[in-house]
Every structure is written in structure tokens, then in C-alpha cells.
Subunit: 330 residues, 2 copies
């Protein structure tokens, strides 16, 4: 195998076979994928969840993870947010010529490891090569099974719900931005699969109304969209929002607002207020959930609005992210 | 909506919402997609087929189609090749800044139209924006349902099978290459969804052993891989290979071999020889199948080999595509 990707690796012929054999096959080994058919045939279920995401993060590796871990987490988490049990992943690689094969190898290894952690199987893949400067894009799509008794959707948000976040805000965004700026600090991306958190909620019999992973656009964008869809008012309490001191300092320095920063291993769950304490306890007992807390409540004061109760007692109206945020954060 | 895509359209905030609302939502309108959840929850089945493909074809539009039609056909056809009934499609767009919004609109419209023709629903999507020069990549993943009584796989290929192609070879490849070279002729891409052909075969009770769509790498690459997997010998007859006079002329001019040229609306089916005539009749009666014919047979003379019986009676050994083929053909 050469040291760098060239256009010939996208031919569909001998060079593509070599690439698949020497890089993908050994990491993604599975009885389904090994058959190399045009599509994978797998066991199904009565209700399935489907999702897709493309990943274009730059840099490809950053403190706490890389695009390989990120693409599995992103897709698995999107399935989990509907109460699904993630099962199968497909992956499409778009490689720019000049990409170092060792970098690709590292990323593919990281995907395989994260897939094992998340309990999903990579069942189908595709590789294309385009002109460029050695960058790497990955698209993943996922299928999960939804147990018949689970009904998790934005439409179930209602007055009286508590708003719970599973941990600290802004870590992924700060890690990516810090790396790009060459800032040395202790901030690591939170990229993580959230299956244990979600299953702990259901195991504790919490009637989860809705869940979202807090990615591009941040908590404010996610909650503003939920307020609009459900025609309720979501009121956050500023002093309850969890942010690590490191990220707080980083934000202060650069004028960033953690409410609009992307995470890749955090969710927000809306549950009936009387089940909120039990829900927080369930999340805290799960991997990646130890900093979970209640950050707000749903009321009917101003339907469709997202409000922030500030530290000094004021009420600020929040909109979805305007402008650019951080390009190529995921 | 602006005339060109910029990084802000990838923010996940207001500009992304505007892009989704004004371009994707109206073309892809569906009760599932409209809910804008993290993943789509849809009806499942006992056996499902899954596949993925990224599309990076250049130019984005060419005689007979565009990347929008291509990405639906490619994914639908991969599902069909396992005997599945294609149902759901996810799509991930990677847009380079500077892309003309009118071009995106045209492509998205073409996807929607082809999805309707193929009878599939687009249930989930994602958009990313990267730096660049206005190019456009699309990843599609698909899910289909496999009826319990269908067993279509490379492992079923056996001695005594006939090899049937559903139509003329090389059209897509010639159309893309001709467009790039500025050659004016009548050649159009064959990009088409093959559902009617596949269902006609099953409706005629043909015991289809295996099917492949003849894409990158061409018929020779597909059949060589099948010969290896099934440890049989596949023997093609050169004089039976269907190629239009226009493509034949084009190949003569440029020294191309239709056996290694990509198509996007053709399949090869291996069926028991005694059912071969009925299979050809079934395919010919279906949309996009009027030029179907038998092109070879499976024997046990040289396990793992693909042979071509030439017009003058010689026997040529064929390998999979070596070298580059045509970069960015799909």
C-alpha cells in the first residue's frame, strides 16, 4: 500500500480493492461486511430509526478524539435521541488525493473502537477519491430498533417538564477552536456515545418526553427549536448551566457563549418534573453522565419562546444561533 | 436566500434553517422528514437491506442526468441487487462554499423526482459546508425490505448459470467522459432505477442466483469478483455483448473497452440456464430493460477466472480493472 491516497484508489478496480483490503477490512471485520455485496442484508425490527450525518471537522484529530470517533458518536447519538437501540452503521469515505494512508488508518481504527464501545456493527461502506489537499470527509448513516413502548419526540414536550442536561457545555467546541488557534490547555472534546445514559433513563422507568444531543448551534438552538415545535416556553436558569472552569475561562477570553457552543457527547432530556430527580440520578450513574443536572423548566408564559433567567434575576430572550458559529466543528 | 452557498449555511443555526426551508423541505416534503428530529422513525421489516454510496461526479450535470438522479439510482439499485424492495433514503450534502444555490436547487429537484420514480422516501438529511470552489458531494444511504423467500447473493452463483445483462454497456462512462472533453454526440447516461426490471424477474418466478449493478470498474470487474467469490469460471461471449454503435465509435476513437466502463442503469443477473430465456423476456418487458440479452455462462473449467470468448474464437483471461478507469464517474 502506498503512503498517500491518489485518484486510482477511487477507480473501483484493483487499487480500490487493495485499499479496502489493507485498511478497512481488518478494522471493520464482520460477517455482514465481509460478503462485499452491493448492500448488506441484516435482521430488522418492527420500528426502525434512521439517521445520517457528514463529518468534515478540521483538524481531523483533536484533544480527546478524532473524526473517526466523532462520526460514530454523532450517528449513534442521533438514533438514541428517538429512544432507538443503535444497531447498524454505513460509512462513506470521501478522500482527497494526497491524504496520508497512516492518517486514514488511525481514523478507521478509531471508528472501529468506538463502534465496539457503542455496540454497533459497520455493515456497508463506500470510498471515493477527489482532487484536493489530503482532507478527509466521512458520512455515516445509522439504523436502530425502537422498542414498541418508547415514544420520544418533540411533540411530547409539555408544560411541567424539567430540562436536564447530561453534563458540561461547550467542551467539543472549545477543544476544536483551541487546537486551531494553537492554544495549549486541558480542554478535551466530550465526543462520546450516549447509549448508557439513555438506557439508564429507560431502565429507571423515566417517561422521557424528548431528548436531543447538543451539537452544532448549542443548547440554545436545540431548545429554541423545541419550544417552537411544542409551542411551549422553555425557561433556563443561568446559574444552573454546567460549564467547567477551563471552558468558562476560554469563553471569557474569546467572548464565546457556552449556550451556543457545540458538544458531541451531551444530551438534553425533557421529562415530567416529578421524575426529574430520579432522571438526574439515573444519568449520573451512567458512563459520561456524572455531571448531569436540571437546568430549567417548561411553562406556558410565552409560547414558542426560550428564556434565560440570568444570575441577577433578569429574563433574556434567546434565539437560535445567528451567523457562523464555528465552521467545520463536526 | 443568497445566490451562493457560504460557510454560514453550515452553522447549524439560522442560515442552515433557511437553506433547509427554502431548498430541501419543499422538494423532499414527507411526514417523516418534516418532523426535523435527530433521526426518522419508520416502519421496519424482518429482513432489511442497507447500503451507502457517496457521489462526487464531475460535471454535476451531464447528458441524460445529474448527480441528483445518480445518487438516488445508485442507492436504490444497490438495494435491489439483494432482492430488496427499496423504501427509505437518507442524504448527506457536503457543499463547497461558492456553490450556486440555483444549481443545488436543480439537483435537489432531480433527486426528489427520481425518488418518486423509484418509490422511495427521503427520511433524513444533513448538510455541511466546507471551503472550496463551489463543488457538491452527496452521500446517500438506503434501507429496503427483503421478502422472506428471496435469497440473492454471490454465494449462489453456480455452474450452469446463464449471465444476462439488462442492456447496453458503457453509456454512463461515455456520457461523462464526452462531456468533460467537450465532444458533442448523442450519447446519454443510462442512469436509471432498476426496480421494474428486478420485480419483473421475481414476478416471472425466476430463481435469481445473484445480481449486480454494473458501475465503476464495469462488467469485467463485477464478474471477475463474482467468479472469485463463487469459485466458478464465468465465460463471456464477445459478440453477444450489447454496445450501441455510438458508444462503440466513441470507444474506438479513444481506445476504451466497454467491459471496463461504468454504467448507472444496468444490471447483470445470473440465473439457471433453463430459466434464462424467460428471464430475458421478463427484463425486456420492463422499463429500462428493452435491450437485455444473454452474454455468457458459468462453467468449472478454471475456478475463479473470468474468460472472454473473442469474435475469432480465442479465449482471453480478464482481470478486474487495473489503474484509474475514469476518476469521479459517480
Amino acid at each position: 500500500m502506498e503512503e498517500r491516497i491518489s485518484m486510482v484508489h477511487g477507480s473501483g478496480g484493483a487499487a480500490t480493492s487493495e485499499l479496502i483490503g489493507s485498511i478497512f477490512a481488518k478494522e471493520f471485520a464482520s460477517t455482514t461486511l465481509d460478503k462485499m455485496e452491493d448492500s448488506a442484508v441484516v435482521e430488522g425490527a418492527g420500528k426502525i430509526a434512521m439517521t445520517t450525518d457528514s463529518f468534515v471537522v478540521t483538524p481531523v484529530s483533536y484533544p480527546g478524539g478524532d473524526i473517526g470517533r466523532l462520526c460514530i458518536c454523532g450517528t449513534v447519538n442521533d438514533l438514541l435521541m428517538r429512544g432507538a437501540k443503535p444497531k447498524y452503521i454505513t460509512c462513506g469515505f470521501i478522500l482527497q488525493e494526497g491524504l496520508e494512508v497512516s492518517k486514514l488508518q488511525e481514523v478507521v481504527h478509531s471508528m472501529a473502537e468506538c463502534a465496539r464501545e457503542a455496540g454497533v456493527e459497520i455493515v456497508a461502506g463506500d470510498t471515493k477519491v477527489v482532487n484536493g489537499n489530503g482532507e478527509l470527509y466521512i458520512n455515516t448513516a445509522g439504523v436502530g430498533f425502537v422498542p414498541e413502548d418508547r415514544e420520544v419526540s418533540a411533540e411530547r414536550v409539555c408544560v411541567g417538564d424539567a430540562v436536564i442536561v447530561s453534563g458540561n457545555l461547550g467542551d467539543h467546541h472549545a477543544a476544536i477552536l483551541g487546537t486551531r488557534m494553537g492554544i495549549v490547555n486541558e480542554i478535551e472534546s466530550d465526543n462520546a456515545p450516549l447509549g448508557e445514559i439513555v438506557e439508564s433513563l429507560f431502565a429507571a422507568n423515566i417517561d422521557v418526553h424528548t431528548m436531543r444531543d447538543i451539537t452544532r448551534g448549542g443548547l440554545a438552538t436545540v431548545l429554541k427549536e423545541l419550544a417552537k415545535t411544542s409551542n411551549t416556553t422553555i425557561e433556563l436558569e443561568e446559574e444552573k448551566l454546567p460549564v467547567t472552569p477551563q471552558v468558562k475561562d476560554f469563553c471569557g477570553l474569546l467572548g464565546l457563549d457556552p449556550l451556543y457552543m457545540g458538544n458531541e457527547g451531551k444530551l438534553v432530556a425533557l421529562v415530567p418534573v416529578e421524575e426529574a430527580e430520579a432522571a438526574v440520578a439515573a444519568i449520573r450513574g451512567a458512563k459520561y453522565g456524572q455531571d448531569a443536572c436540571i437546568v430549567g423548566f417548561v411553562n406556558d408564559k410565552a409560547p414558542g419562546k426560550l428564556h434565560l433567567r440570568t444570575r441577577i434575576g433578569g429574563l433574556r430572550n434567546l434565539e437560535i444561533l445567528q451567523g457562523e458559529g464555528l465552521p467545520r466543528i463536526c
